[in-house]
């Protein structure tokens, strides 16, 4: 039993259930909905498989920073985008500010890790 097989097998089981639903005369919209989820699962399985092929044994030891301020700033940016949709566009400059600093932080972390 391997990790990609578990995910793909689970997706295949869902595919079988989807086919049966089609046999029962499920509407196209419903089949697309279920099919989309199955597709997403298979995509995840492919990602796991690719990861297993790329790094078969061990990852290089690396230093993980104790802090991740970027996460907090990103959340602030997403909230500001949502509030902009709700209350009006004056929230968008705030969102852009938050997301700019989040991107800057992510870039800094990436450089220091690399």
């Amino acid at each position: 039993m391997s990790a990609p097989l578990v995910v793909a097998g689970w997706g295949a089981f869902n595919t079988a259930l989807l086919v049966i639903l089609a046999g029962y005369g499920g509407e196209a919209m419903v089949l697309w909905l279920y099919g989309g989820a199955v597709g997403l699962t298979m995509l995840f399985a492919a990602g796991v498989a690719a990861s297993a092929l790329r790094r078969p044994a061990r990852l290089r030891p690396r230093l993980l920073p104790n802090h991740g301020e970027v996460g907090l700033v990103t959340a602030g940016g997403l909230l500001a985008v949502g509030l902009g949709l709700t209350f009006g566009p004056w929230f968008y400059p705030v969102a852009v500010g938050f997301l700019f600093f989040a991107a800057l932080g992510a870039f800094r972390d990436w450089r220091s890790a690399g």
Partner: protein, 545 residues
Amino acid sequence: MTALVEAPTVVPSEERGLAAWVTATDHKRIALMTLGTALLLFLAAGLVALVMRAQLAQPNQHLVPTQTYNQLFTLHGSVMIYLFVTPVAIAMGLYLVPLQVGAPMVAAPKLCLASFWVYLAGSVSLLFSMIPATGGASAGWYAYTPLSDSQYSPGVGMDLWLLGVFLAVLAMMAMAGAVLWTALRMRAPGMTLLRMPVFTWSMVVTCLMTVASFPSLLAAVGLVATGRADPTLFHHNLWDVAYQNLFWFYGHPVVYIMFFPFVGAVAEVLATFARRRFVGYKPTVLSLLAFAALSMSVWGHHLFTTHQSVNDYFSLTSTLLSVPAGLEYFGFLATLIGGRLSFPTPMLFALAFIPQFLIGGLTGIMLAAPTLDYHFHGTYFVVAHFHYTLFAGSVFGLLAGFYFWFPKATGVLLSERLGRLHFWLMVIGTNVTFLPMFGMGFLGMPRRVASYSALPGLGTLNLISSCGAAVLAISVLVLLVNVSESLRRRTPAPPDPWGGFTLEWATSSPPPRFNFDRSFPIPRIRSYAPLLDLRDEQASASPGR
């Protein structure tokens, strides 16, 4: 194939203080922050439930206006589903999965931290959705259209609710993806897939379902928000049914997402306090995978009464769920039979989970039959059913896990005396609150009504239910006293206070930054109960002892 992420060569020291916590990339800290937030929100939603039960204690009562009552049940359902049980289920996995598979950290720790903050932002938005003077959200936790559109739910309350749900669900999806990747790709050497503990397997299926089903709700919520911005966009006859499909494609799997982790927790607790390996490990793993796949294909049973779903198919798949569920129950019972049982608080909650969830499950099978569903749809019978699955089932499983792993996470033992008091009050309160609701539903009482007529029997059943809710509130107070007193007294917990079987019990309480270190190395892994193997090895090496 097992991939290993080694602990960093330079290990930063454990940092204290608020700033260190809120920006922590340690999966344990992120999980504890998520759990703490969710538990606070649980208390808030519980208080809302008390107000609702006070309103319904007698017929024709008007403690709160009808519109306020609509907001209250919307807030109660939304907080419990989106902000409490789902985040707790995922956060338990975030805390425990890396420990149980011997990983030094979670995959994508910064993404997990961002997820916590996005979840918190979503929670704040959802809570604030009740405040606007133009009218708070009041369309129920599933916000059906056209009730949730700009014509019937005007004002920013509904917009804030949609934003809150979107952010919270997005955050949990990202967190679940990281937990899944950790279990699949970051296991320690020797930890094959079929040596992962039952709890970790329960998280694998939970996260698979999360990744596959949550995008559907994100789409649904996004489309409702778009439709509110431009009401001419959607043709209602088609859109309303499409929304129901999109919603329940998320809404039914999420019931199992809020259930499987606690099945896993109960399995670990039962095995530990029966002093034997979990019986039927492989059938249980297979049944979890089958259960999860089947539960992706049952959403249409929520649409039976619309005549817009394939009733035969969805009735069949919904009824079939009883097969893998039955297998899991056989595993529970077989583990107990012949075990050397002891009954500390976690075991009491795990034992109560078994019959209580059974009531929820069996009544679910009843509702899987369209003929019965036509009768019970939209009544208190359904309310009783899902409270038996989610409260009498999932919350009892959660509390079994809470009492079991609290010493591991905090390094502090809880009081057994208060734990037992909490348990008995909770069992009484739960059953007195929710059992009469089956009767109310049978008598035809519709759900989501702010008041009801003095028909024979309804008043008495509602009064009993409200008294039960008061007992439940007292039981939660006992839990809070237990936690605060235990944290104040700080009776230290050893690394393995219960004689556990899985890897998290091999490390210190609480675990170090990267879970295992020189003082607490990962033991040799030969099965899904490595610490039991170690004990058996030691016992056979010194048979005289």
